[in-house]
């Protein structure tokens, strides 16, 4: 069994796919090098990230399979799914034949897995626009901790730059140790090693308390339905929600 390893970046993945196509191989999977290699008999080959190769691959995809296909590939990459590398590879392989019509093949086994993952990532992206909870903390900035299934910090940040344009904020993905920082002018993604969460400012308590109180009040007790609540708002998100933690 053949496995390609890449550095975890999008360029790295594209380089590995490009290399695999050049070598005319069909790998079992393409995975970040820090994943566990649990196939005892597997051949693991590292491919280094190459910007030129990656750019060529991206050009090929958009030129032959359209912009939507590239977007699907990127969302699929952000999913952090262990199968993402393999799924993307098979998708591109099919695209080499079908060209721009690739996404009409909704039920094809090389397309459906991609569309399914893309839907999940976009769903969490949209959901998180509502679920990020900022706290006003010491240094006069607004801090939010999130723990999403997919690597969506970079794709939700632009929404908050438009919306919370006049406040400094941090959205901290505590699972991936990265954060989006915004200083009222620009935003960037940085690595954050410390897991320490900043403490609340003096006035924070007043509003978070008001919100928890409001949250309880608006529920209509005659229609109580915790199952339905969990269906829309799975428990795994609760720990970062002011009103539910």
């Amino acid at each position: 069994m053949l496995y390609y390893l890449y550095d975890g970046s999008f360029n790295g993945l594209m380089s590995a796919i490009s290399e695999s196509l050049t070598r005319r191989t069909r790998p079992e999977n393409i995975i970040p090098e820090y994943y566990t290699r649990d196939d005892l008999f597997g051949d693991y080959i590292s491919i280094s990230s190459d910007e030129l190769k990656s750019a060529e691959m991206i050009n090929t995809v958009t030129a032959r399979m359209g912009d939507e296909t590239l977007s699907n590939i990127f969302y699929c990459y952000l999913s952090d799914s262990p199968e993402a590398g393999k799924i993307i590879f098979e998708y591109i392989l099919l695209g080499m034949n079908t060209g721009k019509k690739i996404n009409m093949h909704l039920t094809n086994d090389s397309v459906k897995p991609v569309l399914d993952i893309v839907r999940k990532v976009k769903c969490e992206q949209h959901r998180m626009l509502g679920l990020v909870r900022f706290r006003h903390v010491e240094d006069g900035l607004y801090y939010a901790a999130i723990d999403p299934d997919h690597n969506i910090t970079g794709i939700i940040a632009p929404h908050f730059t438009r919306r919370m344009a006049d406040q400094n904020w941090i959205i901290h993905d505590t699972r991936r140790n990265i954060a989006a920082l915004y200083d009222k002018k620009r935003w960037e993604i940085v690595d954050i090693e410390s897991s320490r969460e900043p403490s609340d400012s003096d006035r924070e308590m007043f509003y978070s308390d008001l919100w928890r109180n409001y949250f309880k009040t608006v529920s209509i007790s005659e229609r109580k339905n915790p199952k339905l609540q969990r269906q829309f708002l799975p428990k795994r998100y609760w720990k970062n929600l002011t009103e539910l933690k």
Binding site: G130, F134, K224, L233
Partner: protein
């Protein structure tokens, strides 16, 4: 009175209004301002009843001069009363928004002194929020029935959505239970809003950036089960509201006794009925059905056992089965178990492949209900001589289906933990 107490009282009094949507507006943030509106709408939380929380839903005051029998805030009800100042509302809204608790504000009110006076208080509040605080997030306000059209216009220029609640689906019921609110006043105010929306629409064709008037449109609410109106009367009213008043949404609220009054039923109306009305409403808005089609001559209420599309299809078996690989999109939409999303996928995917039952499953079609009404490349699903009775019994005795996204809109009893409330809860995005 402390802010916390006031918020308790005025949120408690507002929560029976079921509208929670924050969609339909794409207001941009301004330089130095805060907030914007997202066209799709965003849900921020879900309360214990499973309903979405998108907007801070509060009343300006619950001090009411009216005494409508069904309303928790009626003047004869013995409940604590409070009134917010515009500054207080602005402060809570902005601070909740900065923490991303909410998508914006839904400001309603009891009729305090008179409709004009209440309307002026509401305008003062949203003016403060929009102008002083430069807030560009979502604002939904209630228009007080019978308020001066000039005031309604003023409010609409600041808000994203406006609504006037009809509450009771007929003039007789209104006269009986809400004598101070006349049908004429309600319809006049709705008309004021739709005329202004129409004006804005025409204006936006002529000038580049016209003054926006409730870009997310107008909505209303009907209470179901407090009065004797049949489902057909309710759905026909909704059809008129969508067609003639260009309403964006009609909300249905199963009656719940919140004040004792011997003119009203003592028990809660079934949530199931509310659910079926929402399904019928969806058929009007997204599936090309007319209200007339959903009822037959004898039966003026919706079937509680099966969804209204299914009920329609078994009454019209002569139109089926259809061949999924060449039927019109409009007809595919009418197949039970196929939603808008699946129908679109079907017409898209069949351009490059011939669809089989297996493919339909992958697309998300609920075959359990759809199988009776279609063929795939000439082949039916099992036997093809279905009649109304065999289909209905087949469906009702079928085992549990796995819960798919499709079922959120059209589900039967077996499919979801509690299908009745799913639609009401999902409305934040619709």
């Amino acid at each position: 009175m402390k802010t916390r107490e006031k918020l308790n009282i005025l949120a408690m009094s507002a929560k029976y209004d079921v509208s929670c949507s924050s969609s339909g507006s794409s207001r941009q943030n301004s330089a130095g301002g805060i907030g914007n509106a997202e066209n799709s709408g965003i849900c921020h939380s879900w309360s214990e009843d499973g309903r979405c929380i998108s907007l801070l839903k509060i009343l300006m005051t619950n001090n009411c001069v009216y005494d409508c029998a069904y309303c928790i805030n009626r003047s004869s009800n013995d409940i604590p009363r409070a009134i917010f100042t515009p500054e207080e509302i602005a402060d809570i809204t902005i601070n909740f928004y900065r923490r991303n608790y909410i998508e914006g504000l839904f400001l309603s009110s009891a009729v305090f002194r008179n409709p004009d006076y209440t309307m002026e208080l509401i305008i003062k509040t949203i003016e403060l929020i929009r102008i002083k605080y430069k807030f560009n997030g979502y604002i939904h306000v209630k228009a007080m029935p019978g308020a001066d059209p000039a005031l309604i216009r003023k409010a609409g220029l600041l808000a994203d959505r406006m609504s006037v609640n009809i509450e009771l689906p007929s003039r007789n019921s209104l006269e009986y239970l809400a004598p101070q609110k006349t049908k004429r006043n309600i319809l006049n105010s709705m008309n004021d809003i739709s005329r202004n929306i129409e004006g804005f629409r025409i204006e936006s064709k002529k000038v580049k950036h016209p003054q926006k008037f409730v870009p997310a449109g107008q909505s209303t609410q009907l209470i179901v089960g407090a009065t004797p109106e049949k489902d057909s009367k309710i759905i026909k009213l909704s059809e008129v509201l969508y067609d003639k008043f260009s309403l964006k949404r009609v909300y249905y609220s199963a009656f719940m006794p919140v004040s004792s009054d011997n003119r009203l039923p003592a028990v809660q109306a079934p949530l199931k009925r509310e659910h079926r009305l929402y399904q019928a409403d969806w058929l009007l808005r997204f599936y090309g059905f007319s209200a007339e089609e959903l009822f037959d001559a004898e039966e003026q209420n919706l079937d509680m056992d099966v969804d209204p599309k299914f009920a329609w299809a078994v009454r019209n078996l002569d139109k089926f089965p259809i061949e999924i690989n060449n039927a019109d999109y409009e007809m595919i939409l009418r197949v039970p178990g196929i939603g808008v999303r699946s129908a679109k996928k079907i017409v898209f995917a069949r351009r490059v492949t011939t669809l089989r039952f297996d493919d339909l499953k992958k697309i998300g079609v609920v075959l359990k209900r759809a199988k009776y009404f279609l063929t795939c490349n000439g082949a039916g699903f099992g036997k093809n001589d279905y009649n109304e009775l065999s289909i209905k019994t087949g469906l009702l005795t079928d085992g549990k289906d796995k819960n798919t996204g499709q079922l959120l809109l059209f589900s039967d009893r077996a499919a979801l933990p509690d299908p009745e409330s799913v639609i009401t809860a999902a409305t934040g995005e619709l």
